[in-house]
């Protein structure tokens, strides 16, 4: 994790300040730590080698400044180089002026092609208003066609399928004709997963490509892939020169070094990231953030962006005023809770906060059902009760419990926790450091 890499680097370079400059020996020590961190993140070892040597070159001869300590300076260089290597700006899909724009999906078995096909279909139809069709060319995996029929329909796409007896190349060609006839804007061709060393299947992929002449070929890569990512990417590039990559399963805790490896060896950008079980969990890829994730810096920017979308400035000021005056009520609490929950599951939000990676708090269990219960309880209160929770006793408690399908004990606990939270907030006003973990666990 970045915390530990950062700490290690600062430890390694602790004696440097007095000397005023980084010696080659200091830098070699620092490079060893960086090398380990990148290897643990599954960046290909050849890429790591190249990378550390370019960082080393830049680090040699830098002057130690007053603003940053030597460890921080090295980290700054590492971050800059890594971001540059990941590719600066995030790219997108270029649509053909003569629809349908044909997108061909390729990848190993289990990398998540069929899911990614449906997610991409949903994204394109919702964000661009395109009418999207998908072609079911995975005739090998049992029930893969059934899967695409289901998820395709959920994504609002037309599914072109001809069962599993037809030839995948023919299905693709036929689907393209259908898409033209139906006036579709986009056709996404799902193919079966194949090993990059399987010559027969790779030839088939090349034939599908020849038949439908896709405008965009996308390779789906599992974010948890190890050193082999380089082989896979190179082989697929050879057979079906792809234009971009979809990184799947990024909602796990893999550091995703494979993304860096693939970019470094093929030069192709990563376009999208698949970040959850739901069809909507699919987003544009941000290279700069990925660089930080690989180093374990936490997805600071994503977090900030998500937070900004939900909380507007005026509201934030009003909230702050209430907190200061200790007028924060259960009504405000409910409001905040709803906003936070709109940003996604709490656990994934916690993972985005830098410094929490590896921290106890990031492993904390946030039970979404518990939050549902809290919402239900507050909603079962009268507005007056929400503003004056101290009134909630006896019969009011019973009514709220009945109304929200909870127990008197649970209502009691909520009121107590809320009271404690207000006390902690008062503590913050007076400059005491709260124990965040305790608040979140509701103790």
């Amino acid at each position: 994790m970045f915390d530990s890499l950062s700490e290690k680097l600062q430890g390694t370079l602790a004696g440097v300040r007095q000397r005023g400059a980084l010696t080659e020996d200091d830098i070699n020590k620092a490079m060893r730590e960086i090398r380990l961190a990148l290897l643990e993140a599954d960046v290909n070892f050849k890429v790591v080698k190249q990378f550390t040597s370019s960082v080393k070159e830049r680090a040699l001869g830098i002057e130690i400044t007053k603003q940053l300590n030597p460890g921080q300076q090295v980290i700054k260089i590492v971050n800059e180089e890594l971001t540059a290597l990941m590719g600066g700006q995030s790219a997108g899909i270029t649509f053909s002026p003569r629809p349908p724009t044909v997108i061909l999906m390729a990848g190993l078995q289990g990398s998540g092609k069929t899911t990614a096909t449906a997610k991409l279909a949903k994204l394109l139809s919702e964000q661009n208003g395109s009418s999207v069709a998908v072609a079911a060319c995975d005739v090998y995996r049992p029930a893969a066609v059934d899967q695409l029929i289901k998820v395709g329909a959920q994504a609002g796409a037309t599914v072109y399928e001809r069962g599993t007896d037809a030839d995948p190349v023919d299905i693709a060609g036929w689907a393209l004709d259908q898409a033209k006839r139906d006036g579709k804007d986009v056709l996404i061709v799902d193919t079966s997963g194949r090993l990059h060393v399987d010559q027969a299947l790779m030839a088939e992929l090349a034939n599908i490509k020849k038949r439908v002449r896709p405008h965009v070929v996308l390779l789906v890569v599992d974010a948890m892939t190890g050193q082999d990512a380089v082989n896979v990417a190179e082989q697929f590039a050879e057979v079906a020169q792809f234009d971009g990559v979809i990184l799947s399963k990024l909602d796990g805790d893999a550091r995703g070094g494979a993304a860096l490896s693939v970019k470094a060896v093929t030069g192709k950008p990563i376009l999208f990231a698949s970040t959850g079980e739901k069809l909507g969990d699919f987003e544009k890829f941000h290279p700069d953030r990925m660089a930080q994730r690989i180093l374990g810096m936490g997805d600071v920017l994503s977090f900030i962006e998500k937070a900004e979308q939900q909380v507007d400035q005026d509201e934030a000021k009003e909230l702050e005023r209430k907190l200061r005056k200790n007028q924060f009520t259960l009504e405000d609490f409910l409001d905040q809770l709803k906003k936070i929950r709109k940003m996604g599951p709490l656990t994934s939000l916690l993972g985005m906060i830098p410094g929490l990676a590896g921290h106890q708090l990031s492993k904390m269990n946030v039970d979404e059902k518990e939050l549902d219960r809290v919402e239900a309880m507050i909603l079962s209160m009268t507005p007056y009760e929400r503003r004056h929770p101290e009134l909630i006793k006896g019969s009011r408690r019973l009514r709220i419990a009945k109304g929200s399908g909870t127990t008197v004990q649970q209502v009691n606990q909520l009121v107590k926790q809320f009271d404690q939270m207000r006390k902690v907030m008062r503590g913050i006003q007076q400059g005491k450091m709260p124990d965040l973990g305790q608040i979140m666990r509701g103790r």
Binding site: G110, R141, Q147, V197, G226, Q227, D228
Partner: protein, 331 residues
């Protein structure tokens, strides 16, 4: 010696038709040949190079660095790699190992030793034996279960019932049903989106009713970081245990051989949720070497029990630590 199905499983009585020893031996060799063929492309490009240059010339800093890189490249991970290389370096310095061949052999031994951990057999003596299969999405659970059911049914002549408790992924049940038809085993299912615990419960009830020898429960793939889904898995396990106190007798986790260092986290968190007793290392027929299994064995003491080396039914095989260690490094 490569192990076979008769070695892997502990049975009450001898299976009906254990082939004679020479025939078994031939099959084992046949398997090894197949493994080699399936893995050939990998080795040609890469390991030939590694092997040829690994212990070339004097033993110096560079030798150990090369070795380190070879292991890192196989996804063994930095910590386990350092441990192995240090040990080999120490033994070499003691003067016990002279020459490239001695070093390579000892290295393979050390790697096999690491892979050989815990109880690596599958005990089928409980009647019925319940096997729970878990893992991350896309690692090959359903395919593996289809093949495993086929082997239990056709090689060992056992009665098998499979529970399709992956009620989440669209068409997962259909996929398992096709495999069930192929393997000639009974598949118990619930409606899509239904409670996986209920399906597991029904599968065990049906299995007992029909006097099945083995009941295999398929579960939906899930990322180990999704707490709610992991809780659901714990619940499935609890449902099984309530029905049969010592079940599940075996909890196998599929790990994709292409997985990098995150594999250790996967095994750790699945282990905490459901108590993983063995790994099935899938997709070993690509260029990935599955070194992560070694890191899992070393750090968590969970042994690999089965490997998947191809699409065919016979491409699911018992795991052999010696073959695996050799395959990590040699052509």
């Amino acid at each position: 010696m490569a192990r076979d199905w008769y070695d892997l499983f502990l049975l009450d009585q001898a299976p009906p038709e254990v082939p004679a020893e020479p025939e078994r031996e031939e099959k084992r060799r046949g398997f090894f040949k197949r493994l080699r063929e399936n893995m050939k492309k990998t080795r040609e490009a890469l390991t030939a190079e590694v092997q040829a240059t690994l212990f070339e010339g004097d033993l110096d800093e560079e030798t150990w660095e090369r070795l380190e890189e070879a292991l890192i490249y196989a996804d063994v991970g930095a910590a386990t790699t350092a441990q192995v290389v240090e040990e080999l370096e120490r033994e070499a310095e003691d003067g016990n190992l002279v020459g490239g061949e001695a070093l390579s052999n000892r290295l393979a031994e050390l790697l096999a030793q690491l892979a050989r951990t815990g109880d690596d057999k599958i005990d089928l003596r409980p009647d019925p034996t319940v096997i729970l299969v878990v893992g991350v999405n896309g690692t090959g659970k359903t395919t593996t279960i289809g093949k495993l059911a086929w082997h239990l049914r056709n090689t060992l002549q056992l009665q098998v019932v499979v529970g399709a408790a992956d009620t989440f992924r669209a068409a997962a049940v259909e996929q398992l049903e096709r495999w069930g038809e192929r393997a000639g085993v009974d598949v118990v299912k619930g409606p899509e989106g239904s409670d996986p615990g209920a399906v597991a419960f029904d599968a065990i009830a049906r299995g007992r009713e029909r006097g099945a020898d083995v009941i295999i429960i398929d579960t939906a793939g899930r990322l180990h970081t999704q707490t709610n889904l992991m809780d659901e898995l714990t619940k499935v396990r609890r449902v099984i245990s309530k029905q049969m106190p010592d079940a599940p007798h075996e909890t196998l986790m599929t790990v994709d051989a292409t997985t990098g260092q995150n594999g250790v986290r996967q095994a750790k968190l699945f282990g905490e949720a459901v108590g993983v007793t063995g790994i099935i290392l899938t997709k070993l027929d690509g260029t990935a070497k599955g070194g992560i299994a070694l890191a899992i064995a070393n750090e968590l003491n969970i042994p690999v029990k089965l490997i998947g080396i191809g699409e065919q039914l016979e491409d699911l095989r018992p795991f052999d630590p010696d073959d695996f260690a050799k395959a990590l490094l040699t052509a």
